[in-house]
Symmetry: D2
Subunit: 332 residues, 4 copies
Amino acid sequence: MEIIEFTPTRDQYAYTFGGVEPVLSIEPGTVLRLWSEDAFNHALTSVDDLSSEKVDLGFVNPQTGPFHVKGADPGDTLAIHVVDLSPARSWGASAAIPFFGGLTGTDRTVNLQDALPDTTWIYEVDAAANTVRFEARFGDFTADLPMNPMLGTVGVAPAGGEVRSSLVPERFGGNMDSPEVRAGTTVFLGVNVDGALFSLGDGHYRQGEGEACGTAVEGAMNSTIIVELIKGRAPMWPRLETDGYWMAVGSSRPMEDSWRIAQVEMVRWYEELFGLHHMDAYQLLSQTTEVPIANVVDVNYSVVVKAAKALMPRVDAFDGVHAELRNRARAL
Amino acid sequence: MEIIEFTPTRDQYAYTFGGVEPVLSIEPGTVLRLWSEDAFNHALTSVDDLSSEKVDLGFVNPQTGPFHVKGADPGDTLAIHVVDLSPARSWGASAAIPFFGGLTGTDRTVNLQDALPDTTWIYEVDAAANTVRFEARFGDFTADLPMNPMLGTVGVAPAGGEVRSSLVPERFGGNMDSPEVRAGTTVFLGVNVDGALFSLGDGHYRQGEGEACGTAVEGAMNSTIIVELIKGRAPMWPRLETDGYWMAVGSSRPMEDSWRIAQVEMVRWYEELFGLHHMDAYQLLSQTTEVPIANVVDVNYSVVVKAAKALMPRVDAFDGVHAELRNRARAL
Amino acid sequence: MEIIEFTPTRDQYAYTFGGVEPVLSIEPGTVLRLWSEDAFNHALTSVDDLSSEKVDLGFVNPQTGPFHVKGADPGDTLAIHVVDLSPARSWGASAAIPFFGGLTGTDRTVNLQDALPDTTWIYEVDAAANTVRFEARFGDFTADLPMNPMLGTVGVAPAGGEVRSSLVPERFGGNMDSPEVRAGTTVFLGVNVDGALFSLGDGHYRQGEGEACGTAVEGAMNSTIIVELIKGRAPMWPRLETDGYWMAVGSSRPMEDSWRIAQVEMVRWYEELFGLHHMDAYQLLSQTTEVPIANVVDVNYSVVVKAAKALMPRVDAFDGVHAELRNRARAL
Amino acid sequence: MEIIEFTPTRDQYAYTFGGVEPVLSIEPGTVLRLWSEDAFNHALTSVDDLSSEKVDLGFVNPQTGPFHVKGADPGDTLAIHVVDLSPARSWGASAAIPFFGGLTGTDRTVNLQDALPDTTWIYEVDAAANTVRFEARFGDFTADLPMNPMLGTVGVAPAGGEVRSSLVPERFGGNMDSPEVRAGTTVFLGVNVDGALFSLGDGHYRQGEGEACGTAVEGAMNSTIIVELIKGRAPMWPRLETDGYWMAVGSSRPMEDSWRIAQVEMVRWYEELFGLHHMDAYQLLSQTTEVPIANVVDVNYSVVVKAAKALMPRVDAFDGVHAELRNRARAL
């Protein structure tokens, strides 16, 4: 198993899915140890750094990549298994960026009200306790919160020659901002272009579902992943697998459409996995899915539909690649 | 502690919140043991009973109640603690009602496509195993699913003289269809009219988040609840409390508005509980909430925002009434 | 032709559709000359009257009515022909009510931003010029705008025993806030309860499409209408007819659903009028409809789909009742 | 005044905004006479040509262009004046593409229902009468409809390095599908990249507002336009001007956000044009705008907010460039 380490130089940061030359070409099966910068390009390092002065929303979520996967053709399926996510700094940052976030007017849900106060929070990491510390900016309150590292973005180049900002979650993955993309998860993405051209970034030391204020505890991240290729069988929308769940992620607006997308993707997956008629899959999933919101703040809103394996007969998705990747990960 | 048992006669079924005379007037602190009919008025008893023939969506979710709570005035808070939910029949029913549900056109998201096939599923209860059995209608597949009894509807009379169908989730509670309304949960609802006039029904033996096909495993239910009254302090939207979580439920359309409502309600609650500035509450909840969807199929869509108590300093909401009700429940 | 004049006393103002005893019972064919109070209950009479102090959104749009129409049964169609609308005062009022309107957070699209400044505008009527005068509140600008009287609300009692605020546009009509409800228009509403129980109010001396700030040039109004009854043939959603157009009004959220509702209602109407297959009606209307937004500020958003009669063969809708009512109106 | 004629070869068709090399570099002030292919790439030439077999939604709306405008820098404003639109064929085509359009489930508003029947309509042009003929596919009905040529798409390269499909309406213009883009209209677009790189296409011989079924009377078009450059002053979203109206176009989802965008853009424009405070502009426009829907079928939905010049004092937008372009157009 080849192991490649890669840390991008600043001029290698990618701010789009598609439209960027690959930084490396790798074989399927490669283990990558990647470093990614935080969503703010390291521009917010103290509570005195204001996003309105230091952050350009046209260039956030710097991506590490893209990587060209040899042999990946349109219609194939890229399986990205997250082995480990480790904070690469001793602090993370979060911000209420003016006119960005879920509880404010935005560039889309435009209003004439004044912006919320531009505010930055810094979370110190306590590595021993495995926590990050929230410190109130308008009072003395503090709270130590468990570390829960995840990747906000993982995606491939879009179809149809499109190039999308690294703020966008879509059919190609991207900025889904789901806490489900953590160590132990396999992400399945349909390949749209030769080599797939996947990238990742936007590490979060911790994030609530919805990412209400628009930003998580953003931090530079060391990610260890295994990249595998499945010929054909591209899912329509991103699918995830953990030891306990099969999942699909829908990203659109309004949010009920994000849900419809993810729910239908799970119906289709259950048809494949269990040979069910779509009406029976629809019914069965209606009684069994867990449905956490991922983000309500990005260019599209993301919803995750989760189906617990424990409720169902044992079957292998994608020929058992997730279990196999788990084994390979343990051997690292 | 007074304990009252009540089973409505068929002509006592209420199909609206508001607009119905109370069946009983009770003292705060009363324990109620209630029976409620299933959402379909017991019209679907075999897979051959079709909802298009036997169900009128203008009259579903028959409510048990309403109950008049002595001393409850507008602006007060009704605390309904769910002590126990037990299936009252040995089977439950679910249906894909034509043009109702999340993965079909509806009376709102209207389209010109043909309806999905009108289909009914019957789930047999295995009381010993505490499961319900899914049986495919278009194949041989079966699956035994854990029982997880919940109430689809619990609500009070609306404000402003409105009367709403028992299909509606709103500020007054109602048809929220959240699995969080289970044994052990306290529901806090703002009182709008003299006596509050609360009712409940729509028992589900089990439901996935989203209630995708529009109906759960619907079944008659025996509910034991304790009804308490808190003078004043009415929340804007329904709040829930369990031993592990504080929660708020937003219900509107599109679904991002349901989320906004619930998330802001939690911000306001955190301001109260911890004396936080709203910007700090916004930030802290952004990193800590869990956000399951409740329903994407009703007149309004419902989203639950959950804040884990374990992450926060110990405080008492509503003067600790939840803990006290838990104690009273244990003593029953 | 019986002509009845009616001006409600203050305690007769109705604030809901449904849930109110009729003020009068009338024969089909009756001409009504009605006075209605402005949306603010006459509470804003100068720019110093602030809506946050004087307006309770639970009780606005006071309705004149409801009227019981003899012989009207559920499933019938009420045809309300607007003969004349004349301002009943020499001024109108408009307001940017805090957290109400299209370009601000609301109780649904909740945000944490500060409210827009609570502002009232008074428009003087120039009866000779038939204009109202806009006077800037934050500068010296003035503009004389043509009078264009319309009724914001006209509706019947809802189905299913519901009672809805006079702020609500729905299947039963209500607060549609469409400038198309002007002199010369016939409004067709499906009857839900014995006697139909229709009411009207919310006179606007002028309103832009969308009613962006949440309120029009609100004013007391003298309305002359003819009320006719068509047995059976209830449309699913409100239909309008003028000499030039057939129209349907959809009211829901999100706004694309309002549009879907209205567009499908027109497809169904074209199937009836021209014997078209629904695919042909869908296609033909795709190339011919005009689609103005009515409101983006009420409990539901309203969209009007208009089909020009001039593009189509001559046919009579509802047996030509609109033309006949126009003739009767001319004879008054 | 330089006049350039340009007809793309098939391999010059562009299917994206951005990401394509310019076909020509032109001076500001140039008159272009352009030919554009129909939205279907000429694939539907009879009612027997089915879109499911012949149309790939990844490659529709072939663009003529892009054109590089000398001296155009980011932050500048491109003014594209439409002088004349003339059908380039004697027939147009329309289609109900499976799972595309407003009254069907789509790839976003996904459902499990069967698709509507894949249907193609051909409209013959009667040049003398200046009409197109609708012929029913499921019956004998015909209707002659006035020709009303318009451009579905006109746009520039997006900001932030994005590349978007020619199906997308956005801040950069694109597939707005508004009948307001007709002869006599000036379109103002903010420049995002050096040379602006604008293109146009998707000619419609006629279209109803909303473009309900997803396609208009699609046809090859001869377009005469004048391209002018205004240094700086880039509007946030597309603005249009005719002799009678100032307009803004918002494109997003859900549709209320499209409206918010366009309405705020008009508030900002009125602040500029009349020196109004934003609250006064908000109020004044609330009483005066006309708000037709453009499309409810594309990747974003488009809404047009129109402000009639006749209601306002005479002012010049963008230093009167529209009037000047009208004069230049008359001189051609």
